[in-house]
Subunit: 275 residues, 2 copies
């Protein structure tokens, strides 16, 4: 049992506050001394929490006061905490994570397919074979997808992929919205089409083909999931085809809103490129 220390609890609290948008970017957060009395701990404890926040990239601490850092400086690691912010995570965030996950897996599939040795290839095909077996629950199915993804990463031999992977991969399992909970799974025929494509890709070491297969496959499930969550959470029938036209009349979470706005438009702020 990993007894959670006070400093990490405090760090988690502050981190979530920041991610939730309690403090706007650039805003000063309370002084170490203030927080120390507020939390009833010694200042050095708060201090350690601050160091974590800084390393996470969500805060910048400097004489004069610690300030909330812009999202550009945050670590990829914040993704998991974004998902864990609320009991039922923001569907928008979930969707973005799934989208990135699809892309990541496509990348892994490409590199893994190109590099896999015979044994790895066999293992990959084995998993794919298991996936085509009928009677698989969504749970086991997504388990296999994860497994497959891991094997691709492994076969790619690329450590950077590995690192990206475990900042992304398991984080959805925590949430109620992880893979495996859609009421309207994609059609079996469609899935199998992509699976077959993937088999061919692996057998011929065609990275591009594998990449496409995985991406399309992921997209199928992602779409099911999105439809489910959006219909459950709210009711926006439009297919988000026009991102910037979206009302964005959201609930709370200014940080996320800012993140989206930043990721979406962003350019207007710093229009003139360099050079």
């Amino acid at each position: 049992m990993p007894t959670t220390t006070q400093d990490s609890s405090i760090a988690a609290l502050l981190r979530d506050d920041i991610l939730r948008g309690q403090y706007r970017c650039g805003e000063r957060l309370p002084s170490e001394r203030d927080l120390a009395v507020r939390f009833g701990v010694h200042r050095s404890t708060v201090r350690e929490a601050f160091k974590r926040l800084e390393q996470l990239g969500v805060a910048r601490i400097a004489p004069g006061g610690a300030r909330v850092a812009p999202l550009e400086e945050a670590s990829l690691d914040i993704v998991e905490h974004l998902l864990a912010l609320d009991d039922v995570p923001d569907p928008e965030i979930v969707d973005q994570v799934l989208e990135a996950l699809s892309g990541f897996r496509a990348m892994a599939a490409r590199l893994g397919t190109e590099r896999a040795d015979a044994g790895q290839r066999a293992r990959l095909l084995e998993i794919l074979d298991a996936m085509t077996r009928s009677g698989l629950g969504n749970e086991q199915y997504s388990e296999l997808v994860s497994e497959l993804s891991d094997r691709f990463v492994e076969a790619s031999g690329n450590m950077v992929l590995r690192l990206m992977g475990h900042s992304l991969r398991p984080k959805l399992a925590h949430t109620r919205l992880g893979y495996g909970l859609f009421s309207d799974p994609p059609s079996r025929a469609e899935v199998e089409k992509h699976l077959e494509q993937l088999v061919r890709a692996i057998e011929s070491a065609d990275g591009t083909l594998a990449s496409e297969a995985i991406y399309d496959l992921s997209r199928l499930f992602r779409r099911s999931l999105r439809e489910r969550s959006t219909s459950a959470e709210r009711s926006l029938p439009e297919e988000r085809a026009l991102p910037e036209a979206q009302p964005m009349a959201d609930v709370h979470e200014p940080a996320l809103a800012a993140a989206r706005a930043g990721a979406r438009s962003g350019r207007s702020a710093r229009a003139g490129g360099r050079s």
Copy 2:
């Protein structure tokens, strides 16, 4: 001038030691008290450094002693420090980063292309136009590639991509081996072929095509770079087509070796899957 604090210096020192493989995974690193006297600072300063290391995912600190964490727990953020470990970074690492970067950019291109609005599309084409201009140094060229990549990320509207991006993107600029220093750049014709493909992809909002174009383009440069660095640093003529057959008779850096081995084979260690 960001005056670097003692705790961050110490954290950096320890981090580099760990990444360099001075301590094997799981090994205990010196106690806070030891390090305090060794560095001539107070224990609490070392302590803050430790918190950073833990947040970075390179160390796990617990009563009884802090231990080096397995690579699986490390943050993507260590990549930049891996590149900065030596004056001339390990070509293997550089190659892996470039490879991941290619994949990432391909992903960004796909999502960005699919989602870009008219303005973003115009901006993308603008950059591509600049890239086809003759007389560009490799420096400016890679600058444009970066810019293009950023715009894709922006157009994708995906915050996760954004986060991944700035853990990956600028880190090569520090090194002597960044894009732009190859003596044998890819042929102009080949490059332009992909650029044209990319233009078509953007105009038709074809994510897959864009992804391919970017990936192939990146690969061109990556190959030139790899050839250059390998010929300069050492002499291994083989094209690394057989990863596991590679002698791996490297110099030092057990951590990286472990990373590679882990990412490459890995499976044998934990053979039996779950479920």
